[in-house]
Amino acid sequence: MQINKLQVEAIKCGSVIDHIPSQIGFKLLSLFRFTETEKRITIGLNLPSKKLGKKDIIKIENTFLSEDQINQLAVYAPCATVNYIDQYNLVGKIFPTLPKKIDRILICPNSNCISHDNCINSSFIFIKKLDKNMNLKCQYCEKEFSKNIVLS
């Protein structure tokens, strides 16, 4: 933990998404459109982690992620934690849980799905299968895909 503090600057106020699996940090930045904000963002990639071996970390100043945003993180980074920081102090720690539905973030693998049109945001619901695997069902074309197919 001490090492991370040295490598990625602390923030005074905002959200820290920690324990992101390495190689996923950049993906989260673009998928969750964190780059579209004017807020200052610091990102650390391939940092040492006791829990994961290597991890990515994202710090967004003066922004507190919504519950929906936090839970959507669970799709890509199930072990992630979101820390709320105020005056350099930890004031909240949240563990994302998989949401029932995920909007905007994913792209439907069905190339003939209307959600590929520009003015539309994608929308998927999670379906738990008998073998306990998770499928994602597109709310528009109603096709079901294994989680890996949609996330790849």
Partner: protein, 311 residues
Amino acid sequence: MRNSLYKKNIISINDLKRDELELVLKKSAILKKKPEPNLLKNKIIASCFFEASTRTRLSFETAIYRLGASIIGFSDGNNISLSKKGESLADTISVISSYVDAIIIRHPQEGSARLATEFSNSIPIFNAGDGSNQHPTQTLLDLFTIKETQYRLNNLNIAMVGDLKYGRTVHSLTQALAKYKKNKFFFISPDALTMPNYINDMLLEKKISWTRCQNIEEIISEIDILYMTRVQKERLESTEYANAKSKFILNTKTLKNARSNLKILHPLPRIDEIDYAVDYTPYAWYFKQAANGIYARQAILSLVLVEKHFK
């Protein structure tokens, strides 16, 4: 009886509960016996066919005229502002919804009807087929025909034959019949065109029996409904197609051991999967099935657009 379909969008058969299916079937039967030519008088309905589908369009239009409503629309997506001027589907629907009481949409892309509901300003949308996804009124007319011929929708043995992979009619019909008890399914298709896993999984989750069979003869004596579909030439290699189509041609010889109550259904068009001689047997019901499309569509249109129907 409460009409829970009033003002509802009809997008997918999965959106309809079993009692709503029953409501449509009941209304279809009433309208078949006793037409109500003024039920939708003064209503204007848009028929928006972004791709050609002659049977479905004419069936919907006939249903609309028989209920006394007026119709506007187009039958070919190539000649409208959307394609000529680049207007979005969302804008097209948004504008048309300000003219009419309901919109029927046929579109080549999956999910288009669902998208239309987001821009229709609460004007009901009827899905008349979205790509390979859903065609709920086809399923309603299939259910109506099955109930009319078998007097029930449970405890049936149903065989589905042909292109089970891409055929949306067989997917939707299986989903609808899975809402009823003790139905058994037999799936007969080329190896490349088997029923998709999500349908098989759904049956498994609901503990509904299904079997994959090699040919129609082995189950003909057990089944009540034989639902034939076209093996689509464009989906297969030429030799694979030749083998597949010759394997699943239904002729009078195949029907030798059929039950007396057996009915053969087909969403049409037929190519050569049913021999013309079968048309003259008492089992052939596909043309009567197509005719029932008028009543099922009359029923769903009137239930969505008029609140009170039953005393």
